[in-house]
Symmetry: C2
Subunit: 340 residues, 2 copies
Amino acid sequence: MPMSGYDAIVLGHGSGGRLSHELLTSLFLPALGQGSELAREDQAVLPMPGEGRLAVTTDSFVVHPLVFPGGDIGSLSVHGTVNDLAVGGARPLYITASFILEEGLSTSLLRRIVESMRRACEAVPVRLVAGDTKVVDRGKADGVFITTTGVGLVPDGVELSAANARPGDRVLVSGPLGDHGIAILAARQGIELETALESDSAPLNGLVLDMLAVSRRIRCMRDPTRGGLSSALNEIAASSNVGISLLETSLPLRPEVRGACELLGLDPLYVACEGRLVAIVAEEDAQRVLGAMRGHPQGREAAVVGRVTGARPGVVTLESSIGGSRIVALLSGEQLPRIC
Amino acid sequence: MPMSGYDAIVLGHGSGGRLSHELLTSLFLPALGQGSELAREDQAVLPMPGEGRLAVTTDSFVVHPLVFPGGDIGSLSVHGTVNDLAVGGARPLYITASFILEEGLSTSLLRRIVESMRRACEAVPVRLVAGDTKVVDRGKADGVFITTTGVGLVPDGVELSAANARPGDRVLVSGPLGDHGIAILAARQGIELETALESDSAPLNGLVLDMLAVSRRIRCMRDPTRGGLSSALNEIAASSNVGISLLETSLPLRPEVRGACELLGLDPLYVACEGRLVAIVAEEDAQRVLGAMRGHPQGREAAVVGRVTGARPGVVTLESSIGGSRIVALLSGEQLPRIC
């Protein structure tokens, strides 16, 4: 149902006046299913979390298209920020959301996106505590951009860092790579895949909790989003001053992702996931952590895909199925713009 | 100095690969004057603040033009979020910044904006702990949008709320109204004012600290940004179920703001400030708080501009110099789009 006769966003919705108030009370608050707490003050005042340290992370989302198989910009903006907290070992507590709306955006599409955020927050769970909305003139944005910021609690004793990897450690991934990037690409270009590929967009905090419960020797975790597994592992290799060697045959890839990559000349090591993590785990705990991952819905297809070495510090290599080895460098240029 | 030969942003700067890394290490980190801590992990892990409660706030900034007399989108994005913390009685601790860049943006302009953010953070002071950068194709944004999120500490005993105003309380503002909105408008339209009017964009946390030090009967504070003093006071009147009566002759207005408003048919009560606050203070403490405000550089021209009444709950009125009274309603439509 449009608000007060508005079926599209107008500049006045960003005025700070009557229309802003209407947008908040007739769209955002009902879609978020919350009382008036979000509306009343310029800041949320919240109880101090318990023992531990604070984790803080922020991300803007500019994905195109706004709705795609397996998700939309709303759920993605929650998952992306929750996952950046989770891979640091933090329990997500609070999230904020700021919207940049383009004049002319359909209010029913906006409502759908905000409702999707609410469901995503409930599933984590994480509490949406503050928000903002700006409107820019038509042609100065692209529908809606969302920036989310997460605040979490890192329990005492959890010390994950990209600088912690050591030779001998194993490299684990939680599931098939590249589903998100290829699903977005297919949706954008109207490419028909053999089967209906969906984005892997999902919250990883539950999976991380199960992993941390069985091992204190998880060195670090990353969610391989933009730049894919390659970026995540290159960062770890550089920060820890170690080499990382991947085994091509062990990489979990769905046939439709493998096929699309071959067809389009893409390397799946560079394609984004939004519901997977890569973990560096001490060799002696690798199987136990793998077991914990496979016992969680987000880790059913987890696999050990490589190991950390002392050779070639800072370099990631891929051992191919026919015995060759190539360097997996940081992505040059841009493969797939605006996948998140 | 352009980065590696790039004098403008390209899509690859948002890839998560090599160019993203270069943008971070050759522009953002040097301009922010920080070490590598911002770069290494997906989340900042920070010491838990001391006693009190957490305050969290977020805002997107889409101001046009990006640079204006008295500031730019960078300093504005720091002041806006710091002030939303400050008016809640919170001491700013941490801030995050997420950038949406349009392909083609000048890297030297971006560097200038980021350096301006650094100076603004240092002046508060507040620590920039996390960031993100996305790039969208040309024509899908407008130069740069910045979203900042602030985390602050509300000391025990500080309980400010828009619901706390009571009949008899006084309404104080910290300085002349509307400088920011009129400065932006003049810059955008190329209007020549008689004197060089600058935005009032400034951090208010120091002023708030001085005010709280002299009174425990400050009911609430607001920074009158979008929608101006009218929006701030209408929110308070509605939340507290009180009337608010302003005295027109007591409103501090610079002659050039008064003149521009008369010329353009704008009402200064609806024009944004970005470095002013309005406070509702118990009658018996009003003069003491006013004195504290006038003793601070951000409050030299502070004034008592009205009072809270029991009549007409939820309604803000303006008593004119010739004895008439009119209702100051929430802004209908939009006076000045994209002023923040």
